[in-house]
Symmetry: C2
Subunit: 203 residues, 2 copies
């Protein structure tokens, strides 16, 4: 929010700062998609964005901080469905994931972050933040379904997330097969069926 | 097999070649584990192994060829179980995977190859070879189980592989949670149950 009169030049300066921050973030993400995390250096981001290294370091104290914000502003923000049934909610979430995995840029970027996280604790932290955000809808829909008696006590939200995201991620990054509709449907049926089976047997 | 007399010096030379090849492969794998695929250069492998670049290029025409052999000689060779039941076989396979994911070095190396495969067709080829070998037991145990009527026609070996490897891989590289025994058991029960459920409903 801007105040009046004397602040006009300050507000212009603010806008300029915002614009150059946006350019830096966009170029960081661009570079990440093209070359993987190893290709992202402050030098190269500065060169491409035309923003000086000093200015970049003023906004982001480290490369990891820059990467984190670049991923958080352009990356995914998953919707939490509320269809009234567990299978329905999982179906929406799985379709959303499948769609993103087939087309979104983060799908080509995430392996690079995962690889870096194996060796670099700061990037492991970045990965943990991205992962928690990506997976957060599973906790919501699982607890709601548990309230309706559709999920057994032994089945945690983390199990549900693994049973949906696991096969989809596997197919995207490991087997590199096409993620087609029938496959997505089978994954959802298996996951909802297993949770329900437990609910029936286990209570 | 060596012949006699005149071949002794040839055989000694052969042994020296074998030894230097082994050193190069070991150093390549070492470097891969430490620094990821971006850290593996013929220069650095030569420096560490003490084997000249010319000699390295004589044995392996490209960096990808060297990486492929380094991974294939030291990497995994999964056992194919034959317990007499589908659930039993999957249980052995899942336990084997879980064990490797917790401790084997390839578990720290694979994300690097997957990341590189997103951008480099030659390394995508390397990944495809490694992946096919890693997953080959699933085709064998699934087809055997199908012969015993434990697997419905609609359930492919690729689905079974995704339903076991997916959640385990997810947990190792994405959520970075501990892969404990109860989790592995639930994954196997879900997978065998889903295949069996289909066999009962669908035939």
């Amino acid at each position: 929010m801007t105040r009046s009169g004397a602040d006009t030049s300050g507000s212009k300066a603010d806008k300029r700062v915002q614009r150059s921050k946006a350019v830096v973030l966009a170029q960081t993400y661009e570079l990440l998609s093209e070359a993987g995390i190893g290709g992202v250096s402050i030098d190269e981001v500065s060169r491409r964005s035309g923003v000086s290294k000093t200015t970049i370091y003023r906004h982001w104290p480290s490369r990891a901080a820059l990467l984190l914000e670049a991923c958080s502003t352009i990356g995914v923000t998953p919707q939490v469905p509320d269809t009234g049934s567990f299978a329905g909610d999982l179906s929406v979430l799985a379709a959303q994931f499948a769609d993103e995995l087939r087309s979104a840029r983060w799908a080509a970027v995430l392996p690079s972050i995962i690889d870096a996280a194996e060796r670099d604790p700061e990037l492991a932290q970045l990965h943990a933040v991205l992962h928690a955000r990506l997976m957060s809808p599973f906790a919501v829909v699982t607890e709601r379904a548990r309230g309706r008696g559709e999920v057994a006590p032994g089945r945690e939200a983390a199990d549900v997330a693994a049973s949906i995201a696991g096969p989809l991620f596997y197919r995207r990054w490991f087997s590199r097969e096409h993620i087609d509709e029938p496959f997505v449907r089978r994954v959802v049926e298996d996951s909802a069926g297993a949770a329900h089976g437990l609910a029936v047997d286990g209570q």
